[in-house]
Amino acid sequence: MARVDVRKTYKLYIGGAFPRSESGHSYEVTDSKGAFMANAALASRKDARDAVVAARKAFGGWAARTAYNRAQILYRIAEVMEDRRPQFVDAVYRCEGGSTARANKVVDEAIDRLVWYAGWADKIGQVTGSANPVAGPFFNLSTPEPTGVVAVLAPQASSLLGLVSVIAPAITTGNVVVVVSSHQRPLPAVTFAEVLATSDVPGGVVNVLTGDAATVGPWLAAHMDVNAIDLTGVAGDAELARNLEIAAADNLKRVRRAPAAETDWSTEPGLEPMTWLLETKTVWHPIGI
């Protein structure tokens, strides 16, 4: 008699734990051919609220880590991902379709992107900061600091590479994230959350909500304790994007607008995915004896 396999329950990732949705809702996730894969937790506004609380709690500690330490942790994420390559390849292949060769390439790129961003942690300040030669006897230094809690609506199509490409720049710069995964392709995000949970990333630094950006997004956009929102995941829905941006104005969140169509994630990102999440702090001090 064949052994009955043990199926995995896909849950949310909030504050370092894997809870079910507070609402008790889940939704069916199908593969690229429409076959049932699993049930995923359907994140509610209260899950979003809990995730923001968890993120805010984690922010101070994460931002205070040395850049070297954050770099090591991002590199550790890449290591653990590499270790679980087959699982990611399988998830990407089943969710996104295409060939296994493509899925392999996407996973390679996702891991490499983490390594790339790991290296930025202790360099971005040098590239974007400045010593300012003011016209007086003052030491004057501008340095970038993380903006805080970032709500990220992850890309819908690119369920892993796209996801990594929007999370990594935020956390490497010391921000913390509440990310809403691809609605139709949430499983790689959950697997990624499991990697995060075992990669020395402190709980709450990345919080993963599976579900619909159109329902959770407005709560995050209007949340007064969220500092920035990345609208990448609503690319193509101009009306929703505009409404989210309007809601974000309530506390002047930094907004990364949605592109008209989803980005090609395979190209090198440049600095912008990090710089929009940085606040420049300028410190003055007199120079005297």
């Binding site: 007086g136 006897p137 003052f138 007199p286 120079i287 005297g288 004896i289």
Partner: protein, 332 residues
């Protein structure tokens, strides 16, 4: 009176002046001075615009605050007599011109100056032009205490009304604060006359050698606690001499000392103040930092020589409406 107030202040600080260690703790516990901030404040006060009646007031006040000074190896009785005459009648052409506060000379010329100034009561204010003598191995202060005290007693005996002593900067900079303190106390005692009265003691820091405003503030408290009647910036022999920010720090010190003890101490910037414009900046600073109580020759002096003629020229300009020239003022 002198004794009572001094004793009162000494009592208040008896614990502080008990040892080098306690003195150091106290002086280093004073609020620090941020150089840039202090200089910006001084420069800001320097932008006050003093015009018309305020300028007339300031010029006459500044003249009355001048310690007309000659401290050269080449000084002679003749030179000092001329200087003293000028102090009594700065503008011979104008009897309404006030006298200066004092003439300031080396101890050996005190008697000469005193001869000329003996009956110098100002016709309007009744003020007398005092004789101030530099003492204590001026300007370096590099002599034994016995010699410094003898130097002081000699000047007082010759009739000096005021003694301008120098502190031992070497001792100060090497942290021997108690030595500096005790030396000031000793010189102050040497200023006493047989009749129980006392010459006034100005304590010169030579701020150009103390280098930092923190040191200026500490030296100010040290001198005030030791009973100095005046604190004075410089000998005029070291650059930089008096500056606005140094004087600012000293004015803050006398203000704070009065708040702490009820006792007023005078301030004398000396050296480098040459123009009316400069002098007025100092007076603005006195007015706004220490307060108007200090706007009096009893509490503020200028140690200067060339300043007086510029004040006189500006005074004449204010009165006549035209610019004057150096030929119209005496060079003594």
């Amino acid at each position: 009176m002198t004794q009572t107030t001094t004793t009162a202040a000494s009592d208040q600080f008896a614990d502080v002046t008990a040892s080098d260690a306690t003195l150091r703790r106290f002086l280093h516990g004073l609020p620090g001075v941020d150089q840039v901030g202090a200089e910006a404040r001084a420069a800001g006060l320097g932008t006050r615009s003093i015009k018309t009646s305020a300028k007339e007031f300031a010029i006459d006040l500044a003249i009355r605050m001048v310690d007309l000074t000659t401290l050269e190896g080449q000084d002679t009785p003749g030179k000092v007599r001329a200087l003293a005459s000028k102090a009594m009648r700065p503008d011979p052409a104008d009897p309404t011109c006030p006298q200066t506060a004092a003439v300031c000379v080396y101890p050996d010329l005190v008697a000469t100056a005193k001869e000329v100034l003996g009956a110098s009561a100002d016709s309007t204010t009744g003020a007398q032009v005092n004789v101030a003598a530099v003492a204590t191995a001026f300007p370096s202060g590099r002599a034994s205490l016995a010699i410094k005290l003898a130097d002081t007693r000699d000047a007082v005996a010759a009739g000096a009304d005021e003694i301008d002593m120098v502190i031992d900067r070497g001792a100060f900079l090497s942290g021997r604060y108690l030595q500096v303190f005790e030396e000031i106390v000793a010189v102050r005692e040497a200023c006493e006359r047989p009749d129980g009265s006392s010459a006034h003691l100005k304590v010169i820091f030579e701020t150009g050698e103390l280098q930092t405003y923190d040191n200026v503030r500490r030296a100010s408290w040290l001198a005030m606690m030791a009973g100095g009647h005046f604190i004075k910036t410089s000998t005029g022999k070291v650059q930089p001499a008096a500056t606005l920010p140094v004087t600012l720090v000293m004015l803050e010190a006398v203000r704070d000392f009065r708040a702490a003890t009820g006792q007023m101490v005078g301030v004398k910037p000396a050296g480098g103040i040459r123009t009316t414009k400069d002098a007025i900046k100092y007076l603005v600073m006195v007015n706004e930092v220490a307060g108007p109580d200090w706007l009096d020759p009893d509490w503020f002096r200028f140690g200067a020589s060339t300043l007086l003629n510029d004040l006189l020229m500006q005074r004449t300009k204010m009165l006549t409406g035209r610019y004057s020239g150096p030929d119209y003022f005496t060079l003594d």
